[in-house]
Each structure stands twice: as structure tokens, then as C-alpha cells.
């Protein structure tokens, strides 16, 4: 086979980017963060994001936290493109946490690209103008005859100077006025739209990459924390003497619950991230504090503990569905009439989906060094963690322990997965309280059981669906009763309907009702909140109705879209029916929609719009007589506007398909008198490599703004698979995970 050789030049690039060098340093000596690129190479700063050394090395700061979504590579690519840099000359360094310079340093809601594209272009264009200004001065030529390309400024005559030669003079140039900046014609892009490997690949492949869990600071001790198995319980006492006598244990103590820490990074989660009561153990190494944790005997005050019971929630929901009612969120003019019109064909189906956990591969952890103030010096704190919104932990330090935010230093590390979990900082509150109480720098590491039991789960729920199709095979009525969950009367994140889903947004005669049941189990943002379950119900039921009408699914679905239009002109959060139709048709065509399928196999289609992305997927499944099923191939068509990093974009889609399949087929969290019943991966499996389908990804690179791809390819997967199973078997699955419907993913 013909493989690409990694050039020595490239190697220097990757290994330098191994800036890993930098990552490694920042995770080790406590004070290493400051000496980022500036102290390594003599560089000239063109703006907060860009430095150029006299040897031509270009350092670009990546502002946003990296959790596997590739943003550490993507955003610097945009800057490099506008600058006219050669990507091989670029070293990417994770920016320190400094919102004054780098804005909202957060990763969530697939918003990083959407939010930052223009800002990054401005940074790149601004650096380019300064380089051109320097060249004009040094070469004594007109600016308009100069262009920046391949890390050089080139004059029309052919004369050129390298960025390295220009750097120091460029840094003295006036900073261009943002309004006067012009941007490159996308047709001349040489970096944006190409496949660029993630800048940390080398350090990852060699085991040198540092995640939060790998942090080591001088004098650091190790901690475990044990909360009440029933959320909301408090520790009253424990076998303290026995625990403290165990080898490797330094200290053990009770922490009281503290709601002042209740600060999450997303406003809708506020108040949830409170410190739970429990028992902390501090020791010499992780194993000692884990082993001691296993020997804890705690007496819990469970008077206010959760009594959530999944089996009861499910039976209550069924009763509610039968009874009907609920708060009316949307009322179509003649839904009742159409459903009772004997000329129409009608259908009813009860759907259910479970709570699921994030199970980031890296369990939650946080390292904190609380330093008591002395002789007029205030209390101070240093925090190392992987977080989607690292700067926000400062508020916890201030609210809970009174450490002023200006005296809190936060180091954001690479995350071993986020998926929404690392937007809530309960684990950081715990580590802060433990360091504060013990007076020691500590690294708190959660066991996998801690990680599952104390998740902020994807909320489960139920939907009772009714629909009618007219004698001419058109959708005549849609009635959706969502039975979900609320905390203190407020629907938890991801529960309920917004009314902007299909078909309601494009079809008039639709009604939505909503009934909320109380829940004490903590819920949070899980990759494409709301969308990941609503897509399953809505896109399955549309298929059910297409079958009822004896119509082809592609035809029925595109017909529902009506004319090609943008539901809210210019609003990227609104469905564009034309773009929807295009991705549906493309996915169908590429998957060979309409071909005769062998016995026991089938194709299933689904479309979903969320996070400004239009995504259609066709799954090809095979099912045997024992209901063993495998997904052979998933064909995906995506419109998120222009793609910035092709390799990264495809990786996100592939990952979303695997995540979607793993979740729909295998995963379920259940509560028994408040306690989470799944303790580790043996009871909460993740899909293994053998079940991986072929994944065929197609982008429609429309002229829309580029938007994020961390989430939107996930929601359509589940309905595409169950629709395909229907095509293969004639059996409709209305419940997730599929293991509960007797189906086994092989």
C-alpha cells in the first residue's frame, strides 16, 4: 500500500505541538502555566492569539477546552488560514484561562465554531495586515501590491519576506480596525476544508498527553469521596478509627452538603451542582483511598433522600398516557376531528426512553491546592481540572469557601470526554472542600461507580403518539403527549417539547401536550439534550404513519417539508426545509434507497435538525430469527455549512453514530428507591468494536455559516436503526434500549 511519509519537518511540528511539552509542563509544576510559548522561543506577539518567532515558528493559542471534539485544532486552523500561514509552521498551544483575552472559554452546545468563526478570522486577518504593513515598510513597496501566502509576504515583483523576518516589525504595526478587515475568498482556502490531524495526536499515541486525572503537583495527596447511595442523604457518622488506621490513609472526615456551591456553567443547571454530603478519605495514593472507601461503613441520614423509582415512573406514565390531558403547548385546529374521521387511517403508539449516563472515559477528577492566607495575605486556591467551562469553578470557590475569584487560578486540561457532563462542577466543589478541610493539595478521583451514581443523567421519558393519514396518503393529524420530568415544577434539561420539531414546525394540524412528573435524580445536558430522545420518537412515528399511508418514507418525509423555505429567514436555529430535503435525498441516494433488500435486512431513514445542522441518516441492518441485529452501514448526509477540518468533522460524525448506537442498543439507568442500580460497565455496557458499522459520511457544503458538529449527527441514528429493523422484520420498536425489546446488538 502507499502510505504517506511523515516528513521531518512535520515531525518537528507534531512533536513541538506535543506542546504536549507545554501540556506536560502545565500539569506538573504548579506554576508552569505562565511560561507558555513566549518563554520557549523569542516571539513577537501580533495579538492575543498569534505569536511569530524570528525562526518562522508561528504559535497560535487555542482558546477553548478540548474534550475530543477537535476544537483545539479547528479554531487555530481558521486563524492560520486568514493569516496566510503554512500549517506546518504552526504550533498550537492551549490558551491559559483568561476570559479578558480569550472570551468565553467554553465548549458546549456545539457552539464553538458558530460562535468563534468570525472572531478567529478577524484575529488571522489582523495578524496578516500587520505582517503586510511590516513588509511594505521594510521592502518599501505599496501595501496593495503585497499578499500573504505560505508564511511569506510576497510582492507582485516576486520579491518576498518570510513571516519570521517580518515578525518583530509586524508587532510594532498599528492594530487594524476590525471593521476595515477583509477576509479571504473561500475559494482560495488552503487550510480550511482540508483534513488536518488533531494537534495532540503524537502525545496521545505515546502516552504523554496529560488529562486532569494525570495531574501531579508538589506535595499532592490523593482523595476519594463517598456520597449517600440515595442522593440527598447526609453522612452522620462512619467507622472513622478503622478507616484512619488503614495503610496509606492520612485523614478521613465528613463533609456536610453545601448548596452555596450550586453553580453550574450553564444557567439552566444552576443550583444542581451542589456539594453532596459524604465522607472524604485522603491518602498516599489512589489505590489506598479507593481500598479504604470500600471498607467504609457510614450511617446516613436519609430523611431527605431521593425515593425515585424507575418502575413506578414507567407505570405512572402509562396511566397518564391512557388518561390523556396535560398542559397544552400547541393546539392544531382540527386534530380531534381528523383522528376520529372514519375516512382517515389512525395509529397510536406509546414510546419510552430511559435515563442514561455520560460515562466519560476519564472518570471525574479535580486537583485543588487551597492555601490559607496568612499575615495579611488572603486565602488563595489553585485548581486543575478538565472542564467544559473551566473559568466558572472560580465562582464555586468564592460562594462556598469565600476565596475571592481573583485569588483563584484555574488550569484547564484536556478532557477524557465531556458530552455535557463536564459542564457541571460538583466534583470540583468536592475537591475544593477536601483540600480546604485537610489543608493539603489533593487530587480527588472518582471511581467508575461514583461516576455513574453521581451523574447528571440524560433524562428518561415517555411519549404517547397519535396520528392520522388521509385517504390520499397525506398526514392529516399529529397528536403528541410528552410525559416527562420536572424538578420543583421546572422541566429538567432535555425533558419536554419546544414545538419547533418536525413535523409541527412545517405542518399545521398538530397538537402537543405535556405532563411532568417530579424527579429527584439529577439530570443534565447529555450530547444533544432533548433532541437525542425526541428524534427517536418523532422520526419513528413519522415512519409509522408513512407505512400506514402505504407511502415511501423518503417521499412522505420530504412532502411534509412542503415548499423549500427557511422557517425563520436568517435564523440559523430555524429549520430550512430546502436544506432538509437536500440531505434526505442525498442520504437516500448514497445508501441505495429503494433497492431490493435480502430477507432479514432493511434500510431505515431518519432526519433531524438541531444545533443549526441538517442531518439525514440511512441505516442498513440485518436481523436474525433470535432478534440478534447488526448495523452493517450508516449513510450520513450533513449540512453544517462549510467544513473547516474535514478529518475532524468526519471523526465527529463517526463518533456520534457509534455513541448513538451504543446508547440506543445497550444503555439504561434505573433508580430503586433513589439508588442508581448500575454500578460499573458490567451493568452499563458501552458498545465494543465488533459492532461498529461502516459509516459513510457526505457533506453538503452550503454557503451557510459553518456550525458545530459535536452533537447533531447523533439524534437521527436511533430512529434510522429502528425504522430499518421494521423494514427488515415488520416489528416496530418503541422502546430504548433495544435490549429491553429483546434485541441484541451483535
Amino acid at each position: 500500500m502507499n502510505s504517506k511519509k511523515i516528513s521531518r519537518r512535520n515531525l518537528f511540528k507534531v512533536s513541538a505541538i506535543a506542546g504536549g511539552g507545554l501540556m506536560l509542563k502545565l500539569s506538573l509544576p504548579a506554576n508552569a502555566l505562565e511560561d507558555s510559548a513566549t518563554t520557549l522561543v523569542k516571539s513577537s506577539e501580533l495579538n492575543f492569539y498569534v505569536q511569530i518567532a524570528s525562526d518562522g515558528q508561528i504559535t497560535i493559542y487555542a482558546p477553548n477546552p478540548e474534550m475530543g471534539q477537535g476544537i483545539k485544532t479547528t479554531l487555530p486552523m481558521i486563524i492560520a488560514e486568514e493569516m496566510g500561514a503554512n500549517w506546518d509552521d504552526v504550533e498550537v498551544v492551549l490558551a491559559p484561562i483568561d476570559p479578558a483575552k480569550f472570551g468565553l472559554q467554553g465548549s458546549g452546545g456545539s457552539m464553538s465554531v458558530t460562535r468563534n468563526f468570525d472572531a478567529m478570522r478577524r484575529m488571522g486577518a489582523s495578524a496578516r495586515e500587520m505582517l503586510i504593513g511590516a513588509a511594505s515598510e521594510l521592502m518599501e513597496v505599496e501595501r496593495r501590491d503585497l499578499k500573504a501566502e505560505a508564511s511569506q509576504v510576497i510582492h507582485g515583483s516576486g520579491r518576498s519576506m518570510t513571516f519570521g523576518q517580518l515578525a518583530s516589525v509586524a508587532a510594532q504595526q498599528p492594530v487594524p480596525v476590525p471593521e476595515q478587515l477583509s477576509f479571504k475568498d473561500p475559494r482560495s482556502y488552503s487550510i480550511i476544508g482540508t483534513s488536518v490531524g488533531s494537534v495532540d495526536n503524537l502525545v496521545i499515541a505515546t502516552g504523554l498527553s496529560k488529562f486532569g486525572i494525570d495531574v501531579d503537583v508538589p506535595g499532592m495527596k490523593f482523595a476519594s469521596y463517598t456520597r449517600c447511595p440515595r442522593p440527598g442523604g447526609k453522612a452522620v457518622s462512619f467507622n472513622s478509627a478503622e478507616i484512619k488506621a488503614l495503610p496509606g490513609v492520612i485523614d478521613a472526615f465528613i463533609l456536610q452538603p453545601d448548596s452555596r456551591s450550586g453553580k453550574a456553567s450553564m444557567a439552566f443547571l444552576d443550583g444542581l451542582a451542589a456539594l453532596q454530603g459524604g465522607v472524604a478519605i485522603v491518602g498516599d495514593d489512589t489505590w489506598s483511598v479507593f481500598a479504604a472507601k470500600a471498607k467504609l461503613k457510614v450511617s446516613w441520614d436519609e430523611r431527605e433522600a431521593s425515593t425515585d423509582q424507575w418502575s413506578k415512573m414507567a407505570s405512572d406514565a402509562r396511566a397518564i398516557a391512557v388518561k390523556g390531558g396535560g398542559e397544552v403547548k400547541l393546539a392544531g385546529a382540527s386534530v380531534g376531528e381528523a383522528l376520529s374521521d372514519s375516512n382517515n387511517r389512525t395509529l397510536e403508539g406509546f414510546y419510552e426512553f430511559p435515563y442514561v449516563a455520560h460515562v466519560c472515559m476519564e472518570p471525574m477528577n479535580c486537583t485543588v491546592d487551597f492555601r490559607k492566607g496568612a499575615s495579611g495575605k488572603p486565602d488563595a486556591m489553585e485548581i486543575w481540572l478538565g472542564s467544559q467551562f473551566p473559568n466558572q469553578v472560580k465562582e464555586i470557590a468564592e460562594n462556598m469557601l469565600g476565596v475571592k475569584q481573583e485569588n483563584v487560578k484555574v488550569h484547564g486540561l484536556r478532557m477524557g470526554g465531556g458530552f455535557g457532563r463536564r459542564a457541571v462542577h460538583d466534583f470540583a466543589a468536592e475537591a475544593m472542600a477536601i483540600s480546604h478541610q485537610s489543608g493539603l493539595p489533593v487530587k480527588l478521583t472518582w471511581t467508575r461507580t461514583d461516576d455513574i451514581h453521581n451523574d447528571y443523567f440524560r433524562v428518561g421519558g415517555f411519549e404517547n403518539m397519535k396520528g392520522a393519514v388521509s385517504p390520499d396518503g397525506k398526514l392529516a393529524a399529529w397528536d403528541q403527549h410528552y410525559i416527562g420530568f420536572a424538578d420543583n415544577g421546572k422541566p429538567v434539561i432535555g425533558s419536554g417539547l419546544r414545538g419547533n420539531e418536525l413535523p409541527m414546525v412545517a405542518f399545521d394540524n398538530a397538537s402537543i401536550r405535556q405532563t411532568m412528573m417530579p424527579v429527584a435524580t439529577a439530570c443534565g445536558a447529555w450530547r444533544a439534550p432533548g433532541s437525542n430522545t425526541n428524534a427517536f420518537v418523532e422520526q419513528s412515528f413519522i415512519h409509522e404513519l408513512a407505512n400506514l399511508a402505504e407511502r415511501d418514507h423518503v417521499e412522505f418525509l420530504t412532502e411534509l417539508m412542503g415548499s423549500r423555505r427557511w422557517i425563520k429567514e436568517g435564523n440559523i436555529s430555524a429549520l430550512n426545509t430546502g436544506r432538509a430535503i437536500d440531505v434526505i435525498k442525498l442520504a437516500a441516494e448514497k445508501a441505495g434507497w429503494g433497492r431490493t433488500m435480502p430477507e432479514g435486512t432493511g434500510l431505515g431513514l431518519a432526519f433531524y435538525f438541531c444545533h443549526a445542522a441538517h442531518v439525514a441518516e440511512v441505516a442498513e441492518v440485518s436481523v436474525d430469527a433470535e432478534r440478534n441485529f447488526s448495523v452493517k452501514r450508516v449513510t450520513v448526509a450533513v449540512d453544517v455549512g462549510p467544513i473547516i477540518n474535514m478529518s475532524g468533522a468526519i471523526n465527529q460524525v463517526q463518533g456520534s453514530i457509534v455513541d448513538g448506537l451504543s446508547t440506543m442498543a445497550l444503555q439504561e439507568i434505573t433508580m430503586q428507591n433513589g439508588r442508581i442500580e448500575q454500578d460499573n460497565f458490567h451493568q452499563y455496557p458501552v458498545m465494543r468494536i465488533a459492532s461498529t458499522p461502516e459509516i459513510d459520511v457526505h457533506f453538503i457544503q452550503s454557503d451557510n455559516k459553518p456550525t458545530g458538529l459535536g452533537e447533531p449527527a447523533l439524534p437521527p441514528l436511533a430512529p434510522a436503526v429502528t425504522n430499518a429493523i421494521f423494514a427488515a422484520t415488520g416489528e416496530r420498536i418503541r422502546t430504548m434500549p433495544l435490549s429491553n425489546a429483546g434485541y441484541k446488538l451483535v
Binding site: 502510505s3 504517506k4 511519509k5 511523515i6 515531525l11 518537528f12 512533536s15 506535543a18 506542546g19 504536549g20 511539552g21 507545554l22 506536560l24 475530543g68 477537535g70 490531524g197 488533531s198 495526536n201 496521545i204 499515541a205 505515546t206 502516552g207 498527553s209 488529562f211 486525572i213 494525570d214 495503610p247 496509606g248 495514593d285 489512589t286 489505590w287 489506598s288 479507593f290 481500598a291 472515559m361 476519564e362 484536556r414 478532557m415 477524557g416 470526554g417 465531556g418 471511581t447 467508575r448 471523526n651 465527529q652 463517526q654 463518533g655 456520534s656 457509534v658 455513541d659 460499573n680 460497565f681 458490567h682 458501552v686 458498545m687 465494543r688 468494536i689 465488533a690 461498529t692 461502516e694
Partner: protein
């Protein structure tokens, strides 16, 4: 003619040394001197002794005592493979292997490269842009390396079997398969070229 995708570790180490980070490629020796010579281990070619409880899993000896943090903790019950290392060339889950039961030389991800050259799998991982979060990847590479040392032309099924114990929560399995095939072709070319 196959061109070899071998990246020089020596160059990598030089680069990291310049940045003051080289010590993280090797076990932390400062942790060894103060110990009481209880368990003799050979880790990445270094003979050393550690004084820890006999039931401490190798994973935590590596991570907390020797500061070799490339080997990851994911579950502690041999379900996820994040902690995979080699003992005598065989892939094992270090999270359930008590240090007292370690019976041969240990290789971790930090020691996988042969002398100056990255392991072909490490090069292939970079070439195929495999990682997302990256947390599982050391374990994936270690499992795949054990496979390749016994089977230099693995089929998809062979790969699926060898990597069956390694979760990737981010879902990079498609690329992992491709990268193992690519590495196998380098591996074979490497052997042919002596």
C-alpha cells in the same frame, strides 16, 4: 515499495527535552529510592523496586508511584481496557493485576517505541487521525500491539477479537481498525527490510 512511516522517538525526546518534559517518558526515579525494596519490577526496560501493598494493582503503581500516567484508569474491573499494558508481551488489564502477581517485564505505552522509532501503530494512529478525546487510545494501541506481535496480517475479525476488551467512548472504532491494518503493513515491510 512501501514507504515506512517511522517517526524518530529520539527527535521527539529531544524536542520534549528542550521543553523540560523529558522526565515524563521514563519512570520517576525519585519514587524508587525511598522504598524498601519489596517488589522487583522491570518497567520499560528499567529494573526497579517498589514498596507498596501487595494487593495494589499494577495500574496504581505505574500511575501514582512511578508517575507513568500514560496508562489510564477507566473502570477498575477489567471491563474497559484503558489500563492495558504488556507483561512479557501479552496484553493485560493492569487495574486488576496485583503488583505481587506481576510475573514478567512490564511495557507501558511510554515504552512501546523501539529505541529511536515509534511503534508502527503509533505512527498509524497519527496518520489516520484516530483519537478524539484520546483517553482510551493508549489501551487500544497496547492491545493492538500485542495482536500484531502474534499476527502480522490480522483480518477485521482478528482486530475485533484482540480489541474486544477496549472501550472507546468517543467511538473511534472505524479509524482504529484502519490504523491497525495500516500499521500491519508497515510492520511487515519493516520485517522484510530487516
Amino acid at each position: 515499495m512501501v514507504s515506512l512511516l517511522i517517526v524518530s522517538t529520539a527527535v521527539l525526546v529531544q524536542e520534549l527535552q528542550k521543553k523540560g518534559a523529558c522526565e515524563h517518558c521514563q519512570p520517576d526515579k525519585s519514587a524508587w529510592v525511598e522504598v524498601m525494596n519489596k517488589y522487583k519490577l522491570t518497567v520499560n526496560g528499567n529494573a526497579l523496586e517498589v514498596d507498596v501493598a501487595p494487593d495494589m494493582p499494577l495500574l496504581w503503581v505505574l500511575r501514582d508511584k512511578l508517575k507513568l500516567t500514560g496508562t489510564k484508569f477507566g473502570c477498575g474491573i477489567a471491563q474497559c481496557g484503558a489500563c492495558t499494558v504488556h507483561i512479557d508481551g501479552v496484553a493485560v488489564r493492569s487495574c486488576v493485576l496485583p503488583v505481587s502477581a506481576v510475573s514478567g517485564p512490564v511495557t507501558t505505552i511510554e515504552g512501546l517505541a523501539q529505541g529511536d522509532d515509534l511503534h508502527p501503530l503509533q505512527s498509524a494512529w497519527i496518520e489516520h487521525d484516530v483519537p478524539q478525546c484520546g483517553y482510551c487510545q493508549a489501551g487500544q494501541i497496547m492491545s493492538a500491539a500485542a495482536l500484531l506481535s502474534n499476527n502480522s496480517q490480522p483480518s477485521d475479525d482478528d482486530i475485533d477479537q484482540a480489541l474486544e476488551g477496549n472501550y472507546c467512548r468517543c467511538g473511534t472504532y472505524v479509524r482504529i481498525r484502519k490504523a491497525v491494518h495500516t500499521a500491519a503493513s508497515f510492520y511487515n515491510a519493516d520485517k522484510r527490510n530487516g
